[in-house]
């Protein structure tokens, strides 16, 4: 018996959980093991469907753990959201500087910078001006269907430079006026990791955490790895204490034809999803999320080079024709 959870969201992924994991362990042979029952929370995290599947012997305790986890999600949304007017990111984008920022923002900016240098610029959180450019272009009546003009894109490119972001724990700031950041390509992973910390600190050992990116703590109920299915393929990734992240360009599109979307190549300022989707497994969700964003815009041979820098990361590229390309450990 296999229970299948199909979650469709922006970052499409399907989770296949082993049968015993979801079926509340009725088996008689395990009488000595405390009965782990599945406690499941579903809701929203950072604008996407989210769920926490927690295996725990005590229902009340499980509820408290999940409440703490959701509070952590809300706290971080208040820092990273581009839509909440008082969020740290919105204030940074507006003022170009933020004193005494939440340490989470400092840590994530540093992680983003590290990701940017490890992917040779294929990841860059400072692409937010491009997003404004494209959205503005396509929301005007009679917009050119071929996208913004080359000079317009060129004018934006000097604002795209992760090296120009200062991430001190006393203050974060941009070195150039007009810069702005989006952490949407990596924040979900970061939030997933921080929530995993909260879950572990409260004694949760077996959790499948899906906050836009997936992180598995421990094993599924029968002791086997959690099984994550990559949507649109028959690939199933067995994961234990690992994270899985997927990026797909078709999630947010600007034009009716779907040629322009939110995955920008920071190196030339174009919309550049080369694949139907890219799924990355890595030890932390921050790395998996940032890597999947970066790998979406690079050619396979560049991806091989980039992945050499991440010893425990694996990437599955779903090509336009449905074939799957696997690179990495």
């Amino acid at each position: 018996m296999t229970a299948t959870l199909r979650l469709t969201r922006r970052r499409a992924i399907a989770i296949v959980a082993a049968a015993a994991g979801l079926a509340a362990l009725p088996s008689a042979g395990r009488a000595t093991v405390p009965r782990h029952t599945l406690y499941r929370w579903t809701g929203d995290a950072m604008g996407a469907r989210a769920s926490i599947a927690l295996l725990h012997p005590d229902r009340d305790a499980a509820e408290h753990i999940v409440t703490a986890a959701v509070a952590e999600v809300r706290r971080l949304e208040e820092i990273f959201s581009l839509f909440r007017p008082a969020s740290a990111v919105v204030r940074l984008n507006r003022d170009g500087r933020l004193d005494a920022p939440p340490l989470d923002l400092v840590a994530l900016l540093r992680a983003a910078e590290a990701m940017s240098s490890a992917t040779r610029g294929a990841f860059d959180a400072t692409v937010q001006p491009l997003w404004h450019l494209y959205r503005h272009h396509f929301s005007a009546p009679g917009a050119d269907r071929n996208g913004p003009s080359a000079p317009a894109i060129e004018a934006c490119r000097h604002l795209i430079d992760h090296g120009a972001v200062v991430a001190d724990s006393g203050a974060v700031a941009f070195r150039r006026p007009g810069m702005s950041i989006t952490l949407n390509g990596i924040a979900q992973g970061f939030v997933t990791d921080r929530v995993a910390d909260v879950l572990r600190a409260r004694g949760a050992e077996r959790v499948l955490l899906d906050l836009g990116e997936i992180r598995a703590l421990g094993a599924a109920a029968d002791g086997t790895p959690w099984r994550i299915g990559v949507e649109g393929t028959d690939v199933i990734l067995p994961v234990t204490d690992m994270a899985v992240a997927t990026s797909a360009g078709r999630g947010t599109v600007f034009d009716a034809a779907g040629r322009f979307h939110h995955l920008f190549d920071p190196r030339d300022g174009r919309c550049a999803a080369r694949y139907r989707s890219v799924t990355v497994t890595a030890p932390t969700a921050t790395v998996a999320d940032g890597l999947s964003t970066a790998l979406s815009v690079v050619a396979p041979h560049d991806a091989v080079e980039i992945l050499k820098g991440f010893s425990r990361a694996t990437a599955h590229f779903i090509l336009a024709d449905g074939r799957v390309l696997r690179i990495g450990a």
Partner: protein, 705 residues
Amino acid sequence: MPSVTSKRPAGSFAWGWRRILGAAAVAILLCLPRSQAGADDLARVLPDIALNTLVPGADAAGPVEGDPPAAPVLRRGRQVGLILLTSDVVASSGYSGKPVKIAVGLDLSGKITGAAIVEHHEPILVLGIGKPHLDAFLEQFRGFDLRRPVRVVSEGEQAPPGSTGVHMVTGASITSLVFSDGIVRAARLVARSRGLIGDADGPGLDIESFREADWESLVRDGSVRHLTVTAGDVAARLGEEAGAEPERVMLDIFLALVTPAAIGQNLFGFQAHSALLAGLPDGSHVIMVAGGGAYSFKGYTFARTGVFDRLQVVQGERTIRLRTDMYRPVEAFAATAAPEVRDIGLFILGPDSGFDPVRPWRVDVMVDTARPDGSASGVAVPFEYQVPASLIRAAAPVAMPAEPPLWRQRWEAERTSIVILGITLAVVLAILFLHDGLARRPRIMQWLRPTLLLFTLVYLGWTVNAQLSVLNVLTVVGALINGFQWDFFLMEPTIFILWCFVAVTVLFWGRGVFCGWLCPFGAMQELLHRLAIAFGVAQIRIPYRLHERLLPLKYFIFLGLVAVALGIPSWVEILAEVEPFKTAIALKMMREGRFVFYALAIVGLSLHLERPFCRYLCPLGAGLAIASRNPMFDWLQRRRQCGTECTLCASRCPVQAVHANGQVDQHECIYCLSCQTLYHDDHKCPPLVARRRRREGGQQREDRP
């Protein structure tokens, strides 16, 4: 005793009950289509709200979010408070039975900073009491601390000690209560959900208890938490390979909540601990972060920047950065067998930080490392803390004094008037039951009735405002549609009791018991009419045929109002002004000219004509008359000769409720008993006069029935 006669057909008793069941069925049907409360109305009305009147200095508002919903408001990009709409948070319907929408501003310390009406349908306020009264009422909530209980008091009354008193709008007590209740309850729910104030019955921290404990037992019972993080742990958090010395201790951290004597006094000694707490504002707490290890949690820049660049405190959805003004360095522990650690820092979390000492919290220590390529990386390493359960009191009796339900507060406050009303109703019942004996004693009736009417007018009417109104009926109709709440109807005890009494008496005796004895405006008309007669004011006698054609008018008015109540509820309050009750009774004629003119016109007319309003216009009377189609008891006695040989009662009935054929019209009768007085008067009732004369003279013919 004369026998009780009835002109109703046999079996009418059963018919009456069938009617009641039918009415109940209708009531149940009306219950079915419950209207949906408009959730999240705030988002709709937010653009029209002047933010800085609700939260001083606010210049922008964020999106409505959360449960219960509220919108953050900002000043120069920093959140300074919240705005909520009462109807989004609590179901508080006003006197009209319709939701009251009040926008309320809160600051982040759990105080109300302003309140403004967005929408209401309160009848008094629609036409009676002006905006200035209302603004003055709402102004009282500015600065109200949600942790304190609130009491709505009337002019001159004192709020109980420890609570905040709010003066009600005179003449609009229910409305004041409902507004106050809605504002405070909704604001508390929002403030609590955002952690601005503690839970009403939430647990409290035991600060005072002290038992000496050494370092080891403090660590063992969780008063002090000791956590270490190695270089390997930090690398794993970064998703990197462990470096050369994975076992090297990077952070060796001790955490404690210092506020309770059981922890703080053991750690630092009595003097240091009490000196530390003495200077702090109420609700402050002190935490300790101490430790060693290769990496300093304090960092090196705080003296220059004013911020501890490696520390933040996290609790629930709150992130608190630690600044130097919160910092109190300590040299060493006083506890026995305490280790020596490099740094001991105490941090004061003020009442506005929202820190709740009994809930779990953590300190994030930002660990900066250099990457192989020279770039900085950082990871926030969490250290969790939870104060031991032995220091948590199950419920803090002082946390937030509970208030009894609003309606019970009202019943307690109105105790005196409830008792007096009870006595009044008992007197009226006694008159009903003893009417026969009373009617034989015209001299008693002569003073009893005016006395009681005067009492009804002055006490029930002007003093306690217990004037029933057709609006009550329409409110019940509205409540059956929108969701019936007992609490709401219990809020005005005297009105509630009166209605219960009227419901019973209408079924048993008809509308007359209320209209004739307990309606203040009816009493006013009748008393004035009596005065007018005493002063010889000319009287109008409406010809019966005209009278008959004027009677239906009140039914049209009543049915019209019901129709409007179902269709366009917002018009009802205005149309219900056909009743001069509010002008003449609730507001004692202190109102805009047109209303006073109308009321005075009716009062003036009543000098020439008994109870003109009751007879031809009163929608409440009409509603009660419909319900009193077949009263169970017909105690008004008639004679065989009534309407055939004699029409004295018909011509003497003040409201022309006795037909020329001798029957009493229950729809019109005000139970004044004047026909019964006549009935027993052997100097007036012709058949009795005849019998008396015969007895005295012995030559008149027999006329016993």
